[in-house]
């Protein structure tokens, strides 16, 4: 059982979750994740470690509400306990001095990219951070990210007077202008990651993506998380979640993430109906 220390709405639909997990905090490294279960009936879902505090003995994640598990999590209160909270899982990201590192994050990835930017910075890199938000009001952790970045670019699509753009377009522009970038690291939705990988491909800039296939145990026991990378099938929970974005079979990942679309909708309706029933009583 892991106690919830803090849950906070950062922006609509995106929440911060801080959990008491001293052992996980002690071992956490950038790029790793935890697996948790919101309640006894819940699914085991992975969330990236967005920050940790060894002294407080806590681990923080940022999550976006997309279905039953995340909706349940949005309803937890400080003091509640999660029946499962295990980690840190996955291989830590490779942190080294590369020169200029471009960190790109979208939706929950604004949080998840933070420890990476911080670590790249500490390793002496020039850190350029790209934040993708649909609209300005969805921006969070800007100050935190500025503190660990040399440059922060916010790419949003709410100003009708400005040309609509996505990170990958801005990235492409930047590279076309001849800007030196030695490594790119992207965390966010599959579209964000695959499009950034396409943008850097012609320039052969190593682009690390933090893949998000459906997971179950997170310890390499089931193979639910398998992804095709180059010629090989890899288990993202133990071989990743970081992979070379230029080698990932994106179409397969898109398809596999949709494996349970029907069941997920059913599950959410079922749970919402129950919640409304309980509220009605």
């Amino acid at each position: 059982m892991a106690k919830i220390v803090q849950k906070k709405k950062l922006v609509p639909n995106i929440y911060l979750l801080e959990v008491e997990a001293p052992e996980v905090a002690k071992k956490a490294r950038p790029g790793q994740f935890v697996i948790l279960m919101p309640d006894e009936f819940g699914e085991r879902i992975p969330l990236t470690i967005a920050d940790w505090d060894i002294k407080r003995g806590t681990v923080t994640s940022v999550f976006m509400v997309v279905g039953t598990s995340t909706a349940k999590l949005a309803g937890v209160r400080p003091g509640d306990e999660l029946p499962v909270y295990v980690g840190p899982l996955g291989r830590p990201s490779e942190i080294d001095y590369f020169g200029t590192v471009l960190c790109a994050g979208g939706c929950f990835g604004l949080g998840a990219i933070f420890p990476l930017a911080r670590a790249y910075k500490q390793a002496g890199n020039r850190v350029v951070t790209f934040l993708d938000v649909r609209a300005r009001y969805l921006l969070y952790w800007e100050e935190k990210l500025r503190a660990v970045s040399d440059e922060v670019h916010i790419i949003s699509r709410d100003d009708q007077n400005l040309p609509q753009e996505y990170i990958s377009w801005r990235l492409k522009n930047l590279l076309e202008q001849g800007r030196q970038v030695d490594r790119v690291h992207v965390v966010g939705c599959t579209y964000l990651m695959s499009s950034c990988a396409e943008a850097t491909r012609p320039y052969k800039i190593k682009t690390i993506v933090s893949l998000n296939p459906i997971m179950l145990d997170g310890t390499g026991m089931c193979g639910a998380c398998r992804v095709s990378v180059g010629e090989a099938t890899r288990f993202a929970c133990v071989d990743g979640p970081d992979f070379d974005g230029h080698l990932v079979d994106w179409n397969e990942l898109y398809a596999r993430r949709k494996a349970y679309l029907e069941e997920e909708t059913h599950s959410l309706c079922h749970w919402q109906a129950r919640v409304y029933e309980e509220e009605a009583i």
Binding site: A2, E23, V24, K27, M37, F41, G42, E43, R44, T68, S69, P83, V84, Y85, V86, G87, P88, L89, L216, D217, T219, G220, M221, C222, G223, A224, R226, V227, S228, T233, V238, N251, E252, A255, R256, K258, A259, Y260, E263, E264, H266, S267, H270, W271
Partner: protein, 498 residues
């Protein structure tokens, strides 16, 4: 399979002492060998196939008291009980069977527990037909062995249901801390044995329930979770601490645990890495490893979706690749989840199938289709990346291979296509690499299995022992448990020496 050339002198002595006890001599005289041999083997009562495929309730109902005692009468109480040689942990089989005959069920359970800590489980899942029952002298005489497994189950269930679980008195704390990694049958056995010796034992388990394969793999219809829970509760009463949601190698390494004061370690992390065939299309949606499929259904209770949130795909035409217990469990699970066709695709013939005989029989009764001498060569998907068909090839049997079974050879030009919407790959597991990867210097073999000294179960690192599937590759519950007992004895020795 498990026949030992000779029993150890100690076991022989133990058997002889019991054999010569007056009550045993007297009991032998009450019925002649001939009369005993005439009693028919008592049938295990089971739920009818058409009823049981609608739910996940247990198939076997267990022998009634009279039937159990009648079955016990069949045992000839041999002077030279061959059955014991077939048992990997040398249970004193005639003693416990004769205790059943005289109605001393609780004593019978304790007799088994002298060498086997998990009889309710082994009575259900051991492949008795190739172990104790294979060697039973009555089988040699009549062709039908004593139902040793069913009797083992009977006494263990009796003990549990009557609240007669015996909690031994525990010696004064030794002050030594032992870390057991993995809560499968191997780890749980070590924990129980060492707690009884007064050591302070902590079991670290990656998942959120203890039991290993017994909880995530073997389905409820074969091994009810309540039985496992009783075993785990028993360990807790012995003072064992179980730390769930703790992945050794990630949450803390073995060396971190050493720094926290643990003095001895047992690695029982199992063979958790599923093998795939590496054929085209294997990553299509609807193709599961058996581990994933069974974990979704058993551990995460997807059979009760949407009450439980974890989904599982339900196929109408399900193909399970493999012929072992894992394949049987998967295909019978698919049937219970509503499959119209639930098929076993196995590359050899029925004769070579490694599954327990009883599981094959149950599967046949439940309308499972068996396709022998067949292998998939390629999966075909639809436009959404979901599997819709499987191309197979026929095989024929050639010369025996290293395992002594005849090697399957593909028949050229025999390809054909089967429509499927769900495939479960059950072709074996490899040792879980997490601990070897994170424990500097730990010696592993070619297949990633941890190497041990078989006389003590010690690894090459001081104070670190290992057993079960992580050492043997995929094996059995009783072998994992046997390793656990041996390792526990060695660890106790080691701690005393230290």
């Amino acid at each position: 399979m498990a026949e030992k050339d000779e029993l150890s002198a100690e076991v022989k002595e133990r058997l002889k002492t019991e054999y010569q006890k007056p009550w045993r001599q007297e009991l032998r005289r009450t019925l002649s060998v001939k009369e005993r041999s005439k009693i028919p083997r008592q049938k295990m009562p089971e739920r009818p196939a058409e009823e049981r495929i609608k739910d996940f309730g247990e198939v076997n109902l267990g022998l009634e008291t009279e039937a159990a005692q009648m079955e016990a009468k069949r045992c000839l109480d041999c002077a030279n009980p061959a059955c014991v040689k077939g048992c990997p942990v040398s249970i004193d089989i005639p003693s416990f069977v004769k205790l059943i005959e005289i109605g001393e069920f609780v004593l019978a359970a304790r007799k088994i527990k002298e060498t086997n800590s998990l009889p309710a489980i082994c009575g259900r899942v051991c492949p008795q037909e190739i172990q104790c029952e294979a060697l039973c002298n009555l089988k040699k005489a009549t062709g039908v062995p004593v139902a040793i497994g069913n009797l083992e189950r009977f006494v263990a269930d009796f003990e549990r249901k009557n609240g007669e679980i015996f909690i031994p008195s525990i010696p004064a704390p030794s002050g030594k801390k032992v870390a057991v990694i993995g809560a499968g049958p191997a780890g749980l056995t070590v924990a129980g044995e060492l707690a009884k010796k007064g050591h302070q034992v902590t079991v670290f388990e990656a998942l959120h329930l203890a039991g290993g394969v017994l909880v995530y793999g073997i389905p409820e219809f074969r091994l009810p979770k309540s039985i496992l829970k009783a075993e785990v509760d028993y360990l807790k009463r012995l003072g064992v601490e179980i730390k769930l949601n703790f992945v050794v190698g990630k949450t803390a390494t073995l060396e971190d645990l050493r720094a926290e004061g643990y003095e001895a370690f047992f690695i029982g992390t199992g063979a958790g890495l599923p093998n795939f065939m590496k054929i085209p299309g294997e990553n299509l949606i609807g193709i599961y490893s058996a581990n994933e499929y069974l974990t979704r259904v058993n551990l995460m209770r997807a059979y009760d979706f949407p009450r439980y949130d974890t989904p599982v795909l339900k196929g109408e035409r399900v193909a399970v690749i493999g012929g072992g217990n894992v394949a049987m469990d998967s295909v019978r699970t698919a049937k219970r989840l509503g499959a119209k066709r639930a098929m076993i695709i196995y590359r050899r013939s029925r004769h070579e199938m490694p599954a327990r005989e009883e599981e094959i029989k149950h599967a046949e009764e439940e309308g499972i289709e068996f396709h022998f001498l067949t292998v998939p060569v390629r999966y075909i998907g639809d436009e959404h990346g979901r599997v819709k068909a499987m191309e197979c090839q026929r095989m024929e049997l050639g010369e025996p291979d290293a395992s002594g079974r005849r090697r399957p050879i593909p028949v050229p030009g025999s390809e054909f296509t089967v429509e499927v919407d769900l495939v479960v790959v059950a072709i074996g597991q490899s040792p879980n690499p997490l601990i070897p990867q994170t424990t500097a210097g730990l010696k592993v073999g070619k297949w990633g299995n941890i190497e041990v000294d078989w006389s003590t179960m010690a690894t090459n690192i001081e104070g670190v022992y290992a057993g079960g599937d992580i050492v043997r590759g995929g094996a059995t519950v009783i072998l994992a448990m046997g390793d656990g007992r041996l390792a526990a004895a060695s660890i106790d020795e080691y701690l005393k020496r230290k």
